[in-house]
C-alpha cells in the first residue's frame, strides 16, 4: 500500500513544488517527510545544505528520514540515475511498497548548467517508472530562471503546493516529445573560435591520437584516459550509426577541453540514449553503451539535434 498523494498510483509519482519562501518550502516538504515517517516508508532527503538545514529544523524529529548530500548526489545525471536505480531496487527487494525522495535538482540558480538536468527531469519519468516511487522536486522561484521553470512544468506530471494540495499538471509533456524538441545546450565560448583540431571521418584510433596530443597539457592522465575512451566511443558510434561525413573538432582552453563529434544523420532514435544504462547482454558487443559511458566519464555531455545533423559535445574539465 502506498500512503499519501501517491496512494493508488502505479510506478513513479513525479511531483514538483514551486516555492517563494522558506515557509512555502516547509509547507510542502515537512508533510512529505513526516508522511513517510508515519507510514514507515523509506524516505530520503537529497538536499543542498541550505534546504537540508531548513528541513531538519522544520521536522524536529528526523528519525526514519535519510539525509543525503544533494550536491554529490546530483553531480552527473547519468550517474544520478544509475545510483538511484540501484538504491530503489535494493529497497524494493527489502519489501518497500513506496519510497519517498525529495531532491534538490541543480540549475543555474544553484550554479549548474541546466540542459543536462532538463534531460534528466524528463528522462526519469521513464527511468524510474518501474519503482513505487514518490519523488518531489522543489524549485525556489526566487533563484530559478524562467526558462528552467518552463522546463520544470513540462517535465513533472504532478504539482504540490504549500497549502497541502496535490494536482495533476496539465503542462506535462511526454518525455519523448520533450527530449526530441529539447532546445540546444548553450554554446561554450571556446566553440566560438576556430577549432584547434579538425578531422573528417577519422578512425577512432586517429581521433584518440589527435585528442591526446591536444589535451595532455591540460588534463591529468586519469582525465585524459577518461576523455579518450569517451571520444573513441562517440567517433565509433558516429561511423557505425551516423551518416558521413563525421567531423571531429576540439578546442583547448586553460581549464577544459571541448570535443565535438558531428555527423549528418538524425542522431539516436532512442530519446533516452546516454542517460540510461542498457544491460550489456541486451545488445551484441555492448552497442548502445558508448554514449552512456561518455556521459559518466565526462564533465558535461551536450547533444544537439539539428536539421543538418547530430552533434555530441564532450567537455572535460582540467584536474
Amino acid at each position: 500500500m502506498r500512503s499519501g498523494a501517491a496512494a493508488g498510483h502505479a510506478g513513479y509519482f513525479h511531483e514538483t513544488a514551486l516555492y517563494a519562501s522558506d515557509e512555502e518550502l516547509l509547507g510542502v516538504v515537512v508533510p512529505f517527510l513526516r508522511g513517510g515517517q508515519e507510514a514507515g516508508e523509506p524516505t530520503l532527503a537529497v538536499l543542498a545544505p541550505g534546504t537540508a538545514a531548513l528541513a531538519r529544523d522544520g521536522l524536529g524529529d528526523t528519525d526514519g528520514v535519510t539525509f543525503v548530500g544533494g550536491e554529490a548526489a546530483y553531480a552527473n545525471p547519468a550517474q544520478t540515475i544509475a545510483d538511484y536505480r540501484a538504491r530503489f531496487a535494493a529497497l524494493v527487494a527489502r519489501g518497500a511498497t513506496q519510497i519517498r525522495v525529495v531532491g534538490d535538482v541543480p540549475h543555474p540558480g544553484t550554479g549548474a548548467d541546466w540542459h543536462a538536468w532538463a534531460r534528466y527531469e524528463a528522462a526519469i519519468n521513464h527511468a524510474y517508472a518501474d519503482f513505487p516511487l514518490w519523488g518531489l522536486c522543489p524549485y525556489d522561484v526566487r533563484i530559478t530562471p524562467d526558462d528552467v521553470l518552463d522546463d520544470v512544468l513540462r517535465t513533472h506530471p504532478h504539482i504540490a503546493s504549500a497549502c497541502g494540495a496535490h494536482r495533476p499538471n496539465a503542462a506535462f509533456e511526454d518525455p519523448r516529445d520533450f527530449l526530441a524538441a529539447r532546445p540546444l545546450a548553450p554554446v561554450d565560448p571556446l566553440e566560438r573560435r576556430d577549432p584547434d583540431l579538425e578531422q573528417v571521418d577519422p578512425t577512432p584510433a586517429a581521433a584518440r591520437r589527435a585528442i591526446e596530443a591536444l589535451a595532455r597539457r591540460v588534463l591529468s592522465q586519469a582525465r585524459l584516459d577518461d576523455l579518450l575512451l569517451a571520444v573513441s566511443e562517440i567517433v565509433a558510434n558516429a561511423g557505425l550509426h551516423g551518416r558521413a561525413p563525421v567531423v571531429l573538432r576540439a578546442r583547448r582552453g586553460a581549464d577544459r577541453v571541448v570535443v565535438s563529434v558531428a555527423d549528418a544523420g538524425p542522431g539516436p532514435a532512442d530519446p533516452f540514449a546516454g542517460l540510461l544504462a542498457q544491460p550489456v547482454g541486451a545488445r551484441p558487443h555492448g552497442a548502445g553503451m558508448g554514449l552512456w559511458i561518455a556521459h559518466l566519464l565526462c564533465t558535461d555531455v551536450a547533444l544537439r539535434r539539428e536539421a543538418h545533423g547530430f552533434t555530441v559535445r564532450l567537455t572535460m574539465a582540467a584536474g
Binding site: T203, P204, L229, G239, H285, G286, M289, I293
Partner: protein
C-alpha cells in the same frame, strides 16, 4: 612454452596468405616482423598478456583471438597482463567478459589503467576483475 627459456620463430609466406590471415597471425605473436596488428594477445606467465590497442578496427579479430586463447575455465581465474595495453574500448571489455562468462571463469586484468577499472564497474562486467596499476 611461456614458462621455459624457449624462443620460436614462425615464418609464413606472405604470398600465400591474405591480409586478414596475416593480421590474425600477427596478433597472436608477441613480436611480429613485417606484420602489423593493432593488438597482441599471447600466452605469458602466469596466464595471458594483451598489448596494444583494442577498438572497433580490431574487434572481430580480437573476439576470434580470445576464443582461441581462453578455453574452459571451470570457475578458475586467468590473469591477463595488460600493463602494455594502451587502449581498450567498451566493446573490447564486453568481448573479454563474454568470453570469461562463456567459459565459466573470471579474467583478471592485471596492471590496468584506472579508466579500465571504472568502465568495468560501470558496465557491471562481473566476469572481469580489474587490478589497477599503482
Amino acid at each position: 612454452m611461456a614458462r621455459r627459456p624457449f624462443s620460436a620463430l614462425c615464418a609464413y609466406d606472405r604470398a600465400q596468405l591474405d591480409t586478414d590471415t596475416l593480421t590474425g597471425l600477427a596478433c597472436v605473436h608477441p613480436l611480429a616482423h613485417g606484420l602489423r596488428a593493432p593488438f597482441q594477445l599471447f600466452a605469458d606467465d602466469p596466464g595471458l598478456a594483451l598489448r596494444g590497442e583494442v577498438d572497433l578496427a580490431g574487434a572481430q579479430l580480437f573476439a576470434k583471438a580470445l576464443q582461441h586463447a581462453v578455453g574452459p575455465l571451470d570457475g578458475a581465474e586467468v590473469v591477463v597482463d595488460v600493463h602494455e595495453l594502451t587502449f581498450i574500448d567498451v566493446r573490447g571489455l564486453a568481448t573479454l567478459a563474454r568470453q570469461a562468462h562463456s567459459q565459466a571463469g573470471v579474467l583478471v586484468l592485471r596492471g590496468a589503467r584506472a579508466v579500465v577499472g571504472r568502465a568495468v564497474d560501470l558496465l557491471g562486467l562481473t566476469a572481469l576483475r580489474v587490478e589497477v596499476r599503482p
